[in-house]
Point group: C2
Chain length 329, copies 2
């Protein structure tokens, strides 16, 4: 892809130094690595003339004033609200928003990135699912919820804290046997930290918990089977459930109610996302709310900052708990 | 706005002939008008060298391969789904979709049109609310649900047939005292034809109906007051309600249930839009479904057709009825 006269990238530094991209990232960010690694990376940076804060990190000078938004779909309200907020943020700054819909297709995702690389936009804000997207350093990218590689900033809600908060809430509401249910894509993303935070808090508080993690979001049948296996005479073996999305929570709640389970009487449920129904303003379940407007603001700020220096760190924005009809608070 | 060497527009023809834009439109489309009017318009067209099928109607040759989508917001699922489908249609044809969010602000709407006019897109598909948007003939536009002026094609669902179908359904389900409730913007749009179709069908079938039409969508209080005034001992004076949107239907249903009214036992309700909840796939109410994918396809087809000739006619796409839990079918 790269022409030989293009400025050196982090990948070149890693190749030259014979280390991983992660090691280069650490050295650049001042995170301790073995002394010999550090020296090799620094030498490679010097030899190649690699500049951390180059045009590659900021926006190109040949500006289009256009930022591409790569989204899987606008049928899910989270994606729709995020796209709305991102577009509003860009317009306030005089930028135009080039919308690309991938329908969760890895090829379409790669095609979008290639289009942007062909100079048709100044940068890209992407929410993608392909495990092996090629995004070289010459393309200014900010991702939402997904780490592409060490050199791409990733904005998300504080998923880990959200998981912890869900565990805390369920326990403080009297639950004693907790269940975490996750359904989603095979690829690991920031959203997986919801479960990690939940489990960490359960362990820290000595709580009894079980987890059911599905990496195939095409079918929920295994979840319903699992729930049926843990139902005896209309009583579920768990009294507190944390679902990794509100959508999943809505389906779990609906399923359990058809089985005669009283929610929140017998079982309390918390989801994640926090998007109220447009018409009624009601929440499908008690939930951990993602700060969508702030996430959009942060993604645009990071992308457009001309002095942006490399940072592989996550930008995880504060979440909050919203009680609704599926918990007893 | 127009430079004097720009090609003549329909407005120029109307001015030259001393007639309204509507008269020019009728003459061009072969709709009968008074003979003297017809002659004046034809003379003006000849004198000015006005060409119906000019570059002004098709897309400019200096192409950007970009189409602007002007939308009020993506928080409402109808706008989000429509934007999703429009973008997919454009991408399939090698066009890019420039998203602009106006937040229902007339100034923002005008600004979007001006941006597109400054050659930053080949055309625009717009869903707007301002009563006096300036959109001259040199800007290829297709609108959704709103007539800008006689020269701009408008795509919508067949709102009139939808209203008729709602009346038919409620009557065939045994309702005898019908109510139509409308809430929305002050500006008249295609959606107003829902009520017209409903009333026409009621009159044609000799049915008893009442209407409550609010042209201030900021507050629903008058609707709730009206319903309370027509409630006696928990019985509503109507047994069939058609609401102009599913959102309104959801709120009316919720309100009536808090008053102890049994839906659909005592009162049956039909809404309009037909967008199922993302998580559960359930509909908030029995509804008339808008064919969003076909509307997007039609809007893009009409906009991109290089041989497009002037047509002030509506493109009203077929609707269908979807029964759900708020009617007894």
């Amino acid at each position: 892809m790269r022409r030989s006269d293009a400025p050196p990238t982090m990948k070149d530094v890693a190749r030259e130094a014979g280390v991983s991209l992660g090691t280069v990232s650490k050295v650049i960010n001042g995170i301790p690595v073995g002394e010999s690694y550090r020296r090799r990376v620094e030498e490679a940076i010097r030899d190649l003339g690699y500049r951390v804060n180059t045009y590659a990190r900021g926006l190109k000078t040949n500006k289009t004033n256009c930022v591409a938004l790569v989204m899987p779909s606008l049928h899910h309200p989270f994606f729709a609200h995020l796209t709305d907020e991102l577009t509003a943020c860009l317009m306030r700054r005089g930028y135009r928003s080039l919308l690309m819909i991938t329908d969760f297709d890895p090829e379409a995702e790669q095609k979008c990135f290639d289009m942007v690389r062909q100079n048709k936009a100044d940068g890209v804000i992407a929410l993608t699912y392909s495990p092996d997207l090629e995004a070289d350093d010459s393309l200014p990218i900010v991702t939402i919820d997904r780490h592409l590689n060490y050199s791409v900033p990733c904005v998300s809600s504080d998923n880990y804290a959200g998981g912890e908060l869900a565990a805390e809430k369920l326990l403080s509401l009297g639950c004693q046997k907790l269940l975490f249910v996750r359904i989603g894509p095979e690829i690991r993303g920031e959203a997986d930290r919801r479960g990690e935070g939940f489990e960490h808090k359960c362990r820290a508080l000595g709580a009894d918990y079980t987890r059911l993690i599905l990496r195939d979001w095409e079918t929920e049948a295994p979840i319903y089977r699992f729930l049926d296996q843990h139902l005896r005479d209309g009583v579920l073996a768990f009294d507190g459930i944390f679902c990794n999305t509100d959508d999943l929570a809505a389906r779990v709640i609906s399923f359990l109610r058809t089985r005669g389970v009283d929610i929140p009487g017998q079982v309390q449920v918390i989801g994640y996302d926090g998007i109220a129904d447009y018409a009624t303003g009601r929440y499908a379940c008690s939930t951990i709310e993602q700060p969508i407007a702030q996430m959009a603001e942060a993604a645009v700020e990071i992308l457009l900052d001309p002095d942006r220096v490399f940072s592989g760190e996550r930008c995880a924005l504060p979440i909050r708990y919203i009680p609704a009809e599926t918990t007893r608070d």
